[in-house]
């Protein structure tokens, strides 16, 4: 029974990565109507940026948490301005293909320069207060050993997810964004600089990916392909949650982490497939995903 609690908790932690990544995807899909296949590559860039900041600039984890999303976000905005922008109004398909191409390029270039096995990145060991060495070490919860870093990831992601949700669903900016998805021409004719807004939104979504990348750098190997396989799972999360639905992808992200955790405990062989099975089931019952708006 205790082991089960531990698995649930661990699942929740994992879920926070899914949530952050699918959140970014949902923002980009919901607002730009683009299936951002480059999301995994940008997530990877977030982790690499953290690595560079440390190894070249001596700037540690906490700096990376702020700087990496901005740097990668700017990179994303450049992508949007130079390429994605031209796809406005075209079929979804083209956005998907373009970002797929971008992902190949980015991953290929990183692989060429940094190999495929990756680079080390440690859990931050500062600030040091009393016995605490930054986020290193762990707490014995009785039923499990909880690395402090994992606890931090959950809390931090929850905060970020909620803030993003609020921004998009509860502010006027969000209304502009949603309207612009449907009919950018008209929204522009109301006096809103839609292109700029879209660029910023893409930057936001990409920044979220990068943030997830920084968060995962101390846990997962910083590798050029670290996002490539993850991305498919995250797609599934977004679809289950209802494409473009912010809250849907957050909740599904966390829930999926937990379900996957349980599968790992009861029938580990299926833990990679459970998400897809789940997705098929959900779509059979509810075509637009759990919280998707009607098509």
């Amino acid at each position: 029974m205790q082991a089960l609690y531990a698995q649930l908790l661990v699942g929740l932690i994992n879920g926070s990565f899914y949530a952050l990544l699918s959140l970014g995807l949902a923002v980009i899909f919901g607002m730009l109507n683009i299936i951002n296949f480059a999301h995994g590559a940008l997530y990877m860039m977030g982790a690499f940026t953290a690595y560079f900041l440390l190894s070249l600039g001596g700037l540690g984890y906490w700096w990376a948490l702020i700087i990496a999303p901005i740097v990668v976000g700017i990179f994303g905005m450049i992508l949007e301005r130079t390429m994605l922008q031209w796809l406005a109004g075209l079929d979804h398909l083209y956005g998907l293909l373009l970002t797929f191409g971008i992902a190949l390029i980015v991953q290929g270039v990183f692989q060429n320069y940094f190999g495929s096995s990756g680079l080390p990145y440690a859990i931050p060991d500062y600030p040091q207060i009393g016995d605490w060495r930054g986020l290193q070490g762990g707490i014995n919860l009785g039923f499990m050993f909880l690395p402090i870093y994992r606890g931090w990831v959950v809390i931090f992601s929850l905060v970020v997810c909620f803030a993003t949700w609020f921004l998009i669903e509860k502010t006027q900016l969000g209304a502009y964004l949603r309207a612009a998805t449907e009919n950018p021409t008209l929204v522009r004719a109301f006096g809103i600089n839609v292109p700029r807004m879209i660029t910023l939104t893409y930057g936001l979504g990409v920044g979220l990916a990068a943030l997830a990348g920084v968060l995962s750098a101390p846990i997962n190997q910083v590798r050029p392909l670290m996002g490539a396989d993850l991305i498919i799972v995250v797609f599934a999360v977004v679809v289950i949650g209802g494409m473009g639905s912010i809250m849907g992808s957050i909740i599904t992200g966390f829930a999926l982490g937990v379900i996957e955790g349980l599968t790992k405990y009861f029938y580990p062989e299926a833990s990679n497939t459970v998400v897809f099975v789940l997705m098929v089931l959900v779509l059979l019952v509810k075509p637009t995903g759990l919280t998707g708006r009607a098509a």
């Binding site: 079929d91 373009l98 992902a103 190949l104 980015v106 498919i232 779509l283």
Partner: protein, 322 residues
């Protein structure tokens, strides 16, 4: 409506005669390959992928359905054919039939699940289904996991065509390709094809006219899956192995790339696209590390500058459908 159709639909009514002339020219050129000194295995492989891309194109170009999981048909048929030939020691023709039938069956099942979903949901669900299948094949004993099924005997087709002779094999593959191509061509230009197009254009309206659109889409999906499977079965004889890469989602991505490069919704585009991409993989192999980057650049360039694809641009320039 989607801009996809804006770009891809022929500007003039289809000129079937033009298309038949081009088809004859293509068939002739391909038939001459063994006499030119071009390496036949390369062409054979390209032909298999060309048929695969054509099958995929049937769905996207004429049904408006982007499947991001078409590798599952290729891989499934490949595994089944390979297993039939190697373990059950069946003759080639039976191996092909069984492999293709497996793809048909898979098309029926996956189609039933995915077809009722629209647009991007459809892409995602096909992707997920193929990924599901990937993990199953990874673990299933008969596929031999990472090692794949190796050293598959080619055998004698109909008892007298020795497929281990490259030239014989070449003409068999070519015949298979041309046959598959004609089936697709006919499907596109059939009464069924017309209904398919109207569904893509405005599904609600098609329903209100009394069409049960799900059935049409399902049939299109099954035809496409079957032909993709047929390509997979043929490929087994060329590569003499069946492996996981054929079911991986990156393969599905490559299929899309081929079709895109050649021209979505054009008749001959996928063929050209497949040859271009396969040639690139072969001849850029010496550039080693940059192949994926180059592929990525092609994707980006295609989408940004010639969205109609090679053939699509030519057709647009000539104001003809090709």
């Amino acid at each position: 409506m989607s801009a996809l159709t804006d770009d891809t639909l022929p500007v003039t009514p289809r000129a079937m005669r033009d298309e038949m002339i081009v088809f004859a020219a293509m068939a002739l050129l391909l038939a001459l390959v063994p006499f030119t000194g071009i390496y036949p295995f390369f062409v054979m492989q390209a032909l298999c992928f060309a048929l695969l891309a054509c099958a995929f194109n049937l769905l996207i170009g004429y049904g408006g359905l982007l499947s991001f999981g078409h590798a599952m048909f290729l891989g499934t048929a490949g595994y089944v054919t390979a297993h039939a030939l190697k373990v059950w020691a069946l003759p080639p023709e039976l191996g092909i039939v069984i492999g293709t039938a497996a793809a048909t069956l898979l098309g029926l099942v996956t189609g039933y699940i995915s077809i009722r979903r629209q647009g991007i949901y459809f892409s995602m669900i096909t992707l997920a289904l193929s990924q599901l299948l990937y993990f199953i094949y990874l673990q299933a004993p008969f596929t031999h996991g990472e090692d794949g099924i190796q050293g598959i005997p080619q055998g004698h087709l109909f008892g007298f065509l020795d497929l281990s002779k490259p030239t014989v094999l070449y003409y068999v593959v070519l015949a298979g390709f041309l046959g598959g191509f004609l089936v697709i061509y006919r499907t596109i230009n059939s009464p069924f094809g017309e209904v398919l197009k109207s569904i893509r254009e405005n599904e609600q309206r098609a329903i209100s006219l009394g069409y049960k659109t799900d059935q049409y889409k399902l049939l299109a999906f099954i035809i496409s899956g079957t032909l993709a499977g047929f390509a997979g079965s043929l490929k087994v004889f060329v590569a003499q192995n069946a492996s996981l890469t054929d079911v991986h989602w990156t393969m599905s991505g490559e299929i899309v790339l081929m079709t895109l490069v050649g021209g979505l919704g054009t008749i001959f585009g996928p063929v050209v696209g497949a040859f271009v991409i396969i040639a690139m993989q072969q001849y850029l192999a010496s550039y080693g590390q940059w192949v994926t980057v180059i592929q990525g650049v092609i994707f980006v360039a295609c989408v940004l500058t010639f969205r109609r694809g090679l053939i699509g641009e030519i057709a647009h320039f000539l104001r003809r459908s090709l």
